[in-house]
């Protein structure tokens, strides 16, 4: 009998998708190619099958319209970026693969410290920590994106008293060659001439990015020339309203205005560029740029946005600190500069844009590296797992009660506390008062 695989992603799959949706879409593609007899279902809040390369044998399932449990009932293997807590009982008789393609402890800590203050901040952190622990507890296989993440998840699993395999399955490059369909920036965008050099900031600007260093570097360069332009692609994150238009993005706009770069050197796309239109932007660019601060999130990160830049053959200028920056340095795919150093970044931009031969050399090296960054290779651990998957012969209730439920309850309890603290659960806040008044009425009621 063919294996039935359900892939669940919290992000939409369609033209407006960010990393979780992109990853689930290509995961489904890779599984469909490697396991032609498998029945694969791709479940997302919204799935658009008109997306270029959507495999025919993959069944789309929009769980905004229907309960997710219906799709999960039929599956042998459930692959989820985050498994909803309500599906926890599935782990008794199905195999669960949890896809943690970031070090979420560090990433959510970085988000938490910038979002809230005082008690609410601590409650949010406790809730998020319990949610990640729940994901680790419910998994039969944990996927992550690089070796650093793997080691930290192994430590976390050991600390939680769990034994689970952790495999590295990074992001891959789109399978089809990039094709330009129309001119979108140079000579089209007001303020960007056809002869200008274009730098692309690909993706959104969340808390852990450092656009200010990039903007300061551009300011430095703007003193000597006016042919370097920068375009920020993406402002609102699909499905994640808390990430888009965030503190960092707004401060980037403010900084650009203060430095006199807004609308003359620096441009912003206010929205989210459709997935199939991204190549039009990338193929007009001369280089991709990204900068981030020096902290734990950066150390563990795998910048998925770099994958599209490499796919389009763009040299990359970034800050040091993560594994892809190491790859860029080692393989000569661009420049990695120290974090928070606008002068070094300006120097790197100048060196790259003024050296046509150097750019060609980098593009050739990218062509060589691209061959080993395919989705099929990246997803090998998952493909192997699904190929040999054997659902448990008898229900694993001990795992559910002993390992999964404590964390599910911990998560739900901290969530309720957090909602109470933020005043998001007025029904819950009023509940003790209602119970007390009902009791008082019963007590005072005459026999």
């Amino acid at each position: 009998m063919s294996i039935r695989v359900l892939i669940i992603t919290p992000g939409d799959v369609g033209q407006r998708m960010s990393a979780p949706g992109i990853r689930a879409f290509h995961m489904a593609q890779a599984l469909a190619q490697a396991l032609p007899h498998a029945r694969i279902t791709l479940a997302a809040p919204k799935v658009d099958t008109r997306l270029q390369g959507f495999p025919e044998m993959v069944e789309p399932y929009s769980y905004r319209d229907r309960p997710l449990l219906w799709a999960a009932q039929d599956a042998d293997v459930v692959v989820a970026n985050f498994l909803p807590v309500r599906l926890a009982p599935l782990c008794t008789h199905k195999l669960v693969v949890v896809d943690l393609f970031a070090q979420y402890f560090a990433e959510w800590m970085e988000v938490t410290v910038h979002q809230e203050q005082g008690l609410t901040r601590h409650l949010i952190w406790l809730e998020r920590r319990a949610y990640i622990a729940f994901q680790l507890a419910v998994a039969d296989l944990v996927l992550c994106a690089n070796e650093r993440q793997r080691l930290s998840y192994l430590g976390a699993l050991r600390a939680l008293g769990l034994r689970r395999p952790v495999a590295v399955a990074p992001h891959g490059l789109r399978p089809q060659a990039p094709q330009k369909r129309r001119q979108v920036v140079k000579g089209v965008h007001p303020g960007i001439r056809p002869t200008d050099k274009l730098l692309i900031w690909n993706g959104g600007t969340t808390d852990w990015y450092d656009p200010d260093t990039f903007l300061m570097a551009l300011h430095h360069l703007a003193q000597e020339r006016d042919d370097i332009k920068a375009l920020f692609l993406g402002a609102t994150y699909p499905n994640v309203p808390t990430l888009g238009w965030g503190r960092r993005f707004r401060s980037a706009i403010e900084t650009a205005k203060q430095l006199g770069l807004y609308g003359s050197t620096v441009f912003f796309e206010f929205g989210w560029v459709p997935y199939d239109e991204v190549p039009d932007y990338l193929l007009e660019a001369d280089a991709g740029v990204c900068a981030y601060s020096d902290h734990l999130e950066t150390y563990y990160s795998f910048r998925t946005r770099f994958m599209d830049l490499l796919w389009a053959g763009l040299p990359i200028i970034c800050t040091k600190g993560d594994t892809l920056a190491e790859l860029i340095e080692q393989e000569g795919l661009g420049f990695a500069v120290p974090p928070g150093d606008p002068i070094a970044m300006a120097h790197a931009i100048r060196s790259l844009l003024d050296d046509q031969e150097g750019q060609e050399r980098i593009r050739k090296r990218i062509q060589q590296v691209r061959q080993r960054l395919t989705w099929e290779q990246a997803m090998t651990p998952l493909i192997d797992f699904c190929r040999t998957a054997c659902p448990p012969a008898r229900p694993r209730y001990s795992r559910l009660w002993g390992e999964v439920f404590p964390w599910a309850l911990n998560y739900l309890a901290t969530r309720i506390l957090r909602e109470l603290a933020r005043g998001e659960a007025p029904w819950l806040a009023r509940a003790p008062q209602r119970v007390a008044s009902r009791l008082a009425r019963i007590m005072t009621k005459e026999p």
Binding site: Q103, F105, T112, S152, G155, L157, G161
Partner: protein
């Protein structure tokens, strides 16, 4: 600054723990005046197993985890040993580990155990003062000790130990 190094009474660690204090003192010698043995004037207590009576004192506590990560990851530590270890992680101001691999393991463990709070992260976003790699010498520890306050506020709250799992309330 003086450092007081204590030998950890952890016989189950075997020969690795033997001579720890001398080795630790030797590593710190280029940077610090090191005092091996107990004394009143010390500011820092370092050991592979910190004595419980030091937990609530004002001195800076340095936990040297180097003898145990491989056994811990292999699951060779018993329930009590594991619980003791997590308690040590909770109480330590600075944690020394062997290299980058062990550092990643320990950071994952600290997050999972709830020992890294937002306040810790704000003070030390790289956790470089909390978890120190000894691979390239003790420079990192000396820098961390030179900082006026430790990155992590010591856990002065009740601790429940259950099945070797530490949870804080």
């Amino acid at each position: 600054m003086k450092v007081l190094a204590l030998r950890g009474p952890w016989p189950s660690l075997g020969p690795q723990a033997q001579g720890w204090a001398e080795a630790f003192a030797a590593q710190l010698a280029p940077w610090l005046e090191v005092v091996v043995g107990e004394g009143e004037g010390c500011q820092v207590i370092a050991a592979p197993l910190l004595p419980v009576q030091t937990f609530f004192g004002p001195k800076r506590l340095v936990l040297d985890t180097r003898p145990w990560p491989s056994r811990w990851l292999e699951g060779a530590l018993g329930r009590k040993e594991r619980a003791r270890l997590y308690l040590q992680l909770a109480m330590a101001d600075h944690i020394i580990c062997e290299g980058a691999v062990e550092r990643d393991n320990i950071i994952g463990a600290l997050f999972a155990l709830g020992l890294v709070w937002p306040s810790t992260y704000i003070r030390d976003p790289y956790l470089g003062r909390l978890v120190i790699c000894a691979q390239n010498g003790m420079d990192g520890l000396v820098q961390a000790l030179s900082h006026p306050t430790p990155a992590k506020r010591r856990q002065r709250i009740s601790v429940i130990l259950r099945k070797g799992l530490l949870s804080l309330i």
